[in-house]
């Protein structure tokens, strides 16, 4: 195997990893606000991408406009879900919301199948398929485009969380809900914002990944890799989610190069279990001290 080929495989893995990282970020944003997992994150991604695709076909929109449609759909759907079903359950145990989102994911996938069938569809890409040659190394514009777009979104999220009032409020809620409320932060608003933000991040990830994995009712399963990435990085840590996603993408791609076919597909999960056993808080996470 030449070094050039190896570089291509790693870059391709980083591109996939970026999608996992975006999924993980979306999960972590909701987790930090509401201390729960959103099992429906993958299906939210799938539905917003389908809506963008349908709008594009019906109205002949340019790709950039359908990205906007996806983002608006993702945000609106997340807002509605939070408002109608999640908010009333938040007070109970951390399971209730998990089970509710599990139910939502089943419902969304069924509905998508009823509306759009379970077929796979090609989705147009912002980036071309022909390789760019850098000496002997060939890089695909698709991979570079996904990496570039994801990194910009991550930087934007970083800026939002670090420098805006809203971001500070969200971090405060993540640290201590009661204290945040006493400081005059509307915790409910933070919940809603977190869901909308997660919906938007998911929608962008959907539009980026759909040309690669194709549009189908199954594409929501990427959420499982998002979970794995978030746990590897340390659930709750945003830099951890990004690192975990990238690492997972690269590991997934390198495993078939060097490991026998019997275990290569278990590698991500074995890594996950190993990390949970050795360092339960993940690579960059902090051990959580919860009180009664």
């Amino acid at each position: 195997m030449s070094v050039a080929a190896l570089i291509h495989v790693v870059v391709s893995g980083l591109a996939t990893g970026c999608i996992y990282a975006l999924m993980a970020l979306a999960l972590v944003i909701i987790y930090n606000a509401t201390r729960t997992l959103n099992f429906a994150q993958g299906e939210m991604l799938m539905v917003s991408t389908f809506v963008a695709w349908a709008a594009q076909r019906a109205l002949g929109l340019p790709l950039a406009a359908s990205l906007v449609v996806a983002v608006v759909t993702g945000g609106a759907m997340a807002w509605a879900i939070e408002r109608v079903v999640i908010r009333r359950a938040v007070a109970a145990t951390h399971w209730d919301v998990l089970i509710i989102t599990l139910g939502l994911s089943l419902i969304l996938r069924s509905v998508a199948g009823l509306v759009w069938t379970h077929d796979e569809f090609p989705f147009p890409s912002f980036f071309g398929g022909r390789p760019i040659a850098l000496g002997p190394v060939r890089l695909a514009p698709v991979s570079l485009g996904i990496i570039g777009a994801s990194l910009s979104l991550m930087v934007a999220l970083y800026a939002l969380f670090s420098w805006t009032r809203l971001g500070r409020a969200m971090r405060a809620v993540a640290q201590n809900q009661r204290a945040a409320r006493l400081m005059g932060i509307s915790v409910e608003r933070v919940y809603a914002t977190s869901w909308v933000l997660a919906g938007v991040v998911g929608a962008v990830a959907g539009v980026l990944v759909a040309p690669v994995v194709f549009l189908s009712s199954k594409m929501g399963l990427v959420v499982i890799n998002g979970f794995t990435a978030a746990v590897i990085g340390g659930f709750g840590s945003m830099p951890g989610a990004v690192a975990g996603g990238m690492l997972l993408g690269v590991i997934e791609n390198l495993a078939p190069l060097y490991l026998p076919s019997g275990i290569r597909y278990s590698v991500p999960f074995l890594v996950l279990i190993a990390i949970l056993v050795v360092r339960p808080a993940g690579l960059l996470g902090r051990v959580e001290q919860r009180k009664v």
């Binding site: 089943l106 275990i263 339960p280």
Partner: protein
């Protein structure tokens, strides 16, 4: 409830359960066995989730360990009585569960949930990779149940086995709650910290709960293996784990009667929704949300102390209902009607193919025939149930089709594991299995089976003979799907190349549903084959073409297998498909001007104008055409035997779609294909029909 009323109810329950196989139709005896299996799983899951607050999404993995353990014991030690086998299944599962659980139990709540989810996936991968023992993706046939000197079991025997086991397990669970361990579980459920503070060694009890839960689920797995009779890794996916979670959420966390009620309702609901594919997950999703919003604590909490009475009433109501159920007409043929059907994928990985082949393929031709007055005065009606590519559901659906709907023949089911799982059963009942949508040679040489698609070994032979003989290629690589479909082709390629004194230069596996094939393509490219076979499904197949384009790999001819050579794959790959070659099993459904294909398009336009013509629906349409031809030839006295005789005598049948077709005693209907190359986004024929004889 007074103790006396309680005893009375329990006695009534015992009588009802014992009488069940004698009052209920055959299918419901089988369904009841499945209910008992699920009751045991629900109890096991509830021991963990309900009492120690650890939600698990990996119980399908535990079920798999138990099932495979029992199956292997039954295969390699056939004289071992079933009680020992079930215990072994439970113990092995408990040991694996503890080996996994002890380190993971340090994790709380969500993290343990994640770990169990990962565990489920690892177990499926382990089954796939231990294929010397488990037969990997091909699936494993489970021998009949033995109870020492009593010989083997039939349906009724299996029913009593599951019923007795489930009853014992329920009794054990009820009593467990009254022991020191049970009290500790309850304390942990109420508050882990308070329990710890009161001197309950929480970690130890959580470990016990985990082991017990795995033991219960392992025993259930053993029962599952015997009831279903066929195992494959597809059976134990994460959605099965989700079904189990639905059972205990609906029934009630931390409640034994709740587990039972939840398992009964979910199993029965699952079964009765088999015909409403897409609505099944929808309804389960609504149940989950409704429970959480309006009925936290599930049915058990909603009915408080009534729940024991509820269980009993439920069972008694079911017994009465089943006794009143009608048994259908004989053999699915009346003076005015023929009923056929199949279990197929309407959800899961091959949902699109399944739906097209049946509802838009078989049914399309049947509509044409029925609107023209039917065959020999009889209209043909079809019934389909969804198996989501899971063998256990294919078994349940096929039994339901035969025992409840009384179908005459099975037509066009899909996928090797689901078809294999029903093969013995159909054979025993002498039911024709017609034209399954799968090409694995394992179905060859059976009296009641007629193959559909050109079998994979024939496809391989045509491909290799053409490429080596006519095109003079010397080096070959394969990118194949890591399942029965890919492996059947791989074996056949190796054999056919050996005939030409050649060997495969490289073979790389792709897991079903994978999203990135760059590593596999890089490895294949390093071997520099002149020809690279793609034995994949449309999504990954198109990804392989795009990956080739991305890396600028031009000096290989990519060749698609028969099932892959279709318009869907071209559409997904876009301009990356240019120059790709392949073996085509069907004429182009969109532009071919063969009379049969034109008629197919006209019918599609007439009955389903929104559905694009495609090869899956064309293959189903053709299957129905061949079936109707057989029925015509069998004449007015239509029985399963006369149909088989008539089909065996089909000579030069001109469908206008495929070349004139003759079926001989080998029961292979299709043996041909032709070579195509992609030019400007369409398959252009390069050869006439190739022969594989």
């Amino acid at each position: 409830m007074s103790p006396r009323a309680r005893r009375g109810l329990l006695a009534a329950l015992a009588v009802g359960l014992a009488a069940w196989p004698w009052v209920a139709p055959r299918y419901f005896v089988f369904l009841a066995s499945l209910v008992f299996v699920n009751v045991v799983v629900a109890l096991g899951l509830n021991l963990l989730s309900g009492y120690t607050n650890q939600l698990s999404f990996g119980h399908a993995g535990f079920l798999a360990i138990g099932a495979y353990t029992a199956a292997l014991v039954a295969i390699y030690a056939p004289r071992v009585p079933v009680v020992v086998t079930l215990l072994a299944a439970g113990v092995v599962t408990a040991l694996v569960g503890l080996a996994f659980g002890v380190p993971c139990l340090r994790l709380g709540g969500l993290y343990l949930t994640m770990a169990t989810l990962a565990f489920g996936f690892v177990i499926v991968e382990a089954i796939l990779s231990l294929d010397a023992l488990t037969h990997g993706a091909d699936g494993l046939r489970v021998p009949a149940v033995r109870l020492g000197a009593f010989g083997t079991f039939g349906d009724t025997g299996r029913y009593y086995l599951t019923a007795v086991t489930a009853t014992l397990m329920v009794a054990a669970a009820v009593n467990l709650v009254r022991t020191r361990t049970g009290r500790a579980f309850l304390a942990i459920r109420e508050s882990e910290i308070a329990a710890q503070a009161s001197g309950v060694p929480v970690a130890a009890y959580k470990t016990i709960a985990f082991g017990l839960s795995a033991f219960y689920t392992g025993v259930a797995g053993g029962l599952f293996a015997f009831v279903v009779g066929f195992l494959s890794p597809d059976a134990f996916d994460v959605f099965l784990s989700v079904d189990f979670v639905v059972m205990i959420i609906l029934g009630g966390l931390g409640s034994v009667p709740g587990s039972v009620v939840g398992a009964v309702i979910v199993t029965v609901l699952h079964d009765s929704l088999a015909a409403f594919q897409n609505y099944r997950p929808l309804i389960f999703g609504v149940i989950l949300i409704a429970c959480m919003r309006f009925m936290p604590g599930g049915i058990a909490a909603a009915t408080r102390r009534m729940s024991m009475r509820l269980v009993v009433s439920l069972v008694l109501a079911l017994v009465t209902l089943a006794a009143a159920l009608p048994a259908g007409a004989e053999q699915g043929v009346t003076d005015t009607e023929i009923v056929i059907g199949c279990s197929n994928s309407f959800s899961g990985p091959l949902a699109y193919t399944g739906e097209q082949a049946t509802r838009y393929g078989v049914d399309l031709y049947l509509k044409v025939v029925n609107d023209a007055g039917g065959v020999n005065g009889r209209k043909v009606r079809s019934v389909y149930y969804d198996d989501a590519y899971k063998p256990q559901e294919a078994v349940a659906n096929t039994r339901k089709l035969l025992e409840q709907d009384r179908i005459f023949a099975v037509i066009a089911p899909q996928g090797t594991p689901p078809v294999m799982a029903t093969l013995e059963y159909l054979d025993e009942n002498r039911v024709p299995l017609l034209f399954p949508f799968q090409g694995s040679p394992v179905i060859r040489g059976r009296k009641y089976v007629f193959s559909g698609m050109t079998l994979y070994d024939r496809q391989s032979k045509m491909m290799i003979d053409y490429l080596v003989g006519h095109r003079k290629f010397k080096t070959f690589g394969v990118l194949y799907q890591d399942d029965d479909y890919g492996k059947a082709f791989l074996t056949a390629y190796e054999k056919d190349l050996a005939r030409h004194n050649l060997k495969l230069a490289a073979a790389e596996a792709v897991k079903r549903g994978v999203t990135d094939v760059s590593a596999q393509i890089a490895k294949l490219r390093a071997a520099a084959p002149q020809v690279t076979f793609l034995v994949l499904t449309p999504g990954p197949g198109a990804q392989a073409l795009k990956e080739r384009q991305k890396t600028g790999w031009t000096d290989t001819v990519m060749v698609s297998s028969g099932p892959l050579t279709d318009e869907k794959y071209l559409g997904l790959a876009g301009d990356a498909a240019e120059g790709v070659e392949g073996l085509s099993l069907w004429p182009d459904p969109l532009i071919s001007d063969l009379p049969g294909v034109k008629a197919y398009r006209a019918a599609m336009q007439k009955y389903f104008d929104k559905n694009e013509p495609n090869r899956y629906s064309l293959s189903g349409y053709f299957a129905a055409m061949l079936f109707v031809e057989g029925v015509k030839r069998a004449g007015r006295t239509l029985t399963r035997e006369t149909l088989i005789g008539a089909l065996e005598n089909v000579r030069n049948f001109d469908s206008g779609i495929l070349p004139p077709l003759s079926i001989g005693p080998d029961h292979e209907t299709q043996k041909q294909g032709f070579w195509v190359r992609v030019e400007q986004g369409r398959f252009k024929p390069l050869t006439d029909w190739l022969k594989s004889d």
